[in-house]
């Protein structure tokens, strides 16, 4: 029978007060017993619609104190705690000043009400191909600090996304912090989200371009693509084409075309693969022009 659910399924709720407590619970072998959440803006609707089987116990991570920081150090870089809300990242003056691409990407997620609750950590752990923070994180070479009872480890963002909805996190592991290396002073970046409405929507195509331009040469560039492959990806061939090159329209157009060829979009009800590929080219070109001339169209 098809039933339209308005109510959450029966579950219990816990709000541990330390990471250790959470890890202890997760280390219990029984699968499906627990589900952790922070903002809940992805997890709650999934459980409510019975897309995700309900856990026996919902674990609210927000009882853990001290994980919502946004800390910057000039030499070290930026650290975002797993429980920092998307809104706090988007509006942090230090993120706006030093990592504006991250601020833009964060601000493009869903709505204000969702951004007040959601976390960047949750956004990438949910791992939909169109996750708005992902392309920016890819360009920023983010590193994900994870922790479990076995200890701590770091996963680099390039190794994090495995498949739609699947990440490199182990079942008993949680993401604790996202680290962004310090950027060169001359680095400029932009996240361009293509979506039918101006707000609320999932990206049909999401393009992040981050680069350093010095003396008319592209010193380094990173291009992150979202919603055009099973996972968010880097357009490595396009980046290689641009590295060290002199800036001119030809190279920009070639790089954009190359990036489009690297993308592997699908047809779905939001857009066709062909259109998405076309838009990768358009947006990468615009992104590159933007970071070069700082003039957005």
């Amino acid at each position: 029978m098809v039933v339209f659910y308005r109510r959450m399924p029966k579950m219990d709720y816990m709000r541990p007060e330390s990471i250790e407590e959470v890890l202890d619970l997760l280390a219990e072998e029984e699968t499906g017993r627990y589900k952790i959440y922070a903002g809940g803006t992805d997890v709650i609707p999934k459980i409510k619609k019975r897309v995700m089987s309900p856990p026996q116990i919902l674990i609210d991570l927000k009882g853990i104190k001290g994980l919502d920081y946004v800390d910057y150090d000039k030499k070290e870089g930026l650290r975002i705690g797993a429980l920092a809300s998307v809104r706090s990242v988007a509006e942090s003056w230090i993120v706006k000043e030093k990592y504006p691409i991250l601020s833009q990407a964060s601000d493009s997620i869903a709505s204000i009400q969702v951004r007040n609750r959601a976390t960047i950590a949750g956004n990438i752990c949910n791992a939909v191909p169109s996750a708005d923070s992902a392309p920016a994180l890819l360009t920023l070479d983010a590193e994900l600090k994870c922790v479990s009872k076995r200890g701590e480890r770091t996963i680099v963002i390039n190794d994090f996304f495995k498949a739609p909805g699947a990440t490199g996190l182990e079942p008993h592991e949680i993401l604790k912090e996202i680290y962004f290396p310090a950027l060169n002073e001359n680095t400029k970046g932009i996240y361009i989200k293509l979506s039918p409405r101006s707000r609320m929507d999932l990206a049909v195509v999401g393009v992040a371009v981050l680069g350093t331009v010095e003396n008319g040469l592209i010193k380094s560039v990173r291009i992150g693509l979202g919603a055009v492959a099973p996972v968010p990806i880097r357009a490595l061939n396009a980046e290689a084409l641009l590295a060290g090159s002199k800036i001119d329209d030809q190279i920009i157009n070639d790089a954009a075309k190359t990036a489009a060829l690297e993308s592997k979009p699908i047809d779905d009800h939001r857009a066709s693969a062909e259109y998405r590929r076309m838009m990768v080219e358009v947006l990468v070109r615009r992104g590159l022009k933007n970071i070069i001339t700082n003039q957005f169209l």
Binding site: M11, P45, L58, R87
Partner: protein
Amino acid sequence: MEKKKIRFTINGKRCEMEIKPWQTLLELIREDLKLTGTKEGCGEGECGSCTVIMGGRTVNSCLVPAMEADKQEILTIEGLSKGDKLHPIQEAFVEHSGMQCGFCTSGMIMSAKALLDENTDPSREEIREGISGNLCRCTGYAKIFESISAAAHAMKGEK
């Protein structure tokens, strides 16, 4: 499954309740507290009809586990007016007919409040952004913009 006890402040009033651990904040507000001013539109956080202010921030209450209300301060539409005296935002909506069917209105006003609390002189663009998480099907938003603009002026005048 056992009910669990939570303590919270709602519209300035302290409350203690036993709730089902799986219910949402929206259900707590509407069904346990009988504050039916907050509406359920889509139940998935995509329409904003259920917007309330918790911990000083607007949230879609349909997506918040009610257990999280513990130790929190919650403000709903019913908490804006003081007795018979309407909040300036409510006054402005009445005067400028910023509603038609009224279903989105509670959520819309809460988002407007959060906007004006942070930005006392929003531009038209900032007003649009401020309520971009609240759908309205009736008005085309035009008179909502007017109402919020008028509210901003009124609230500045009072200070």
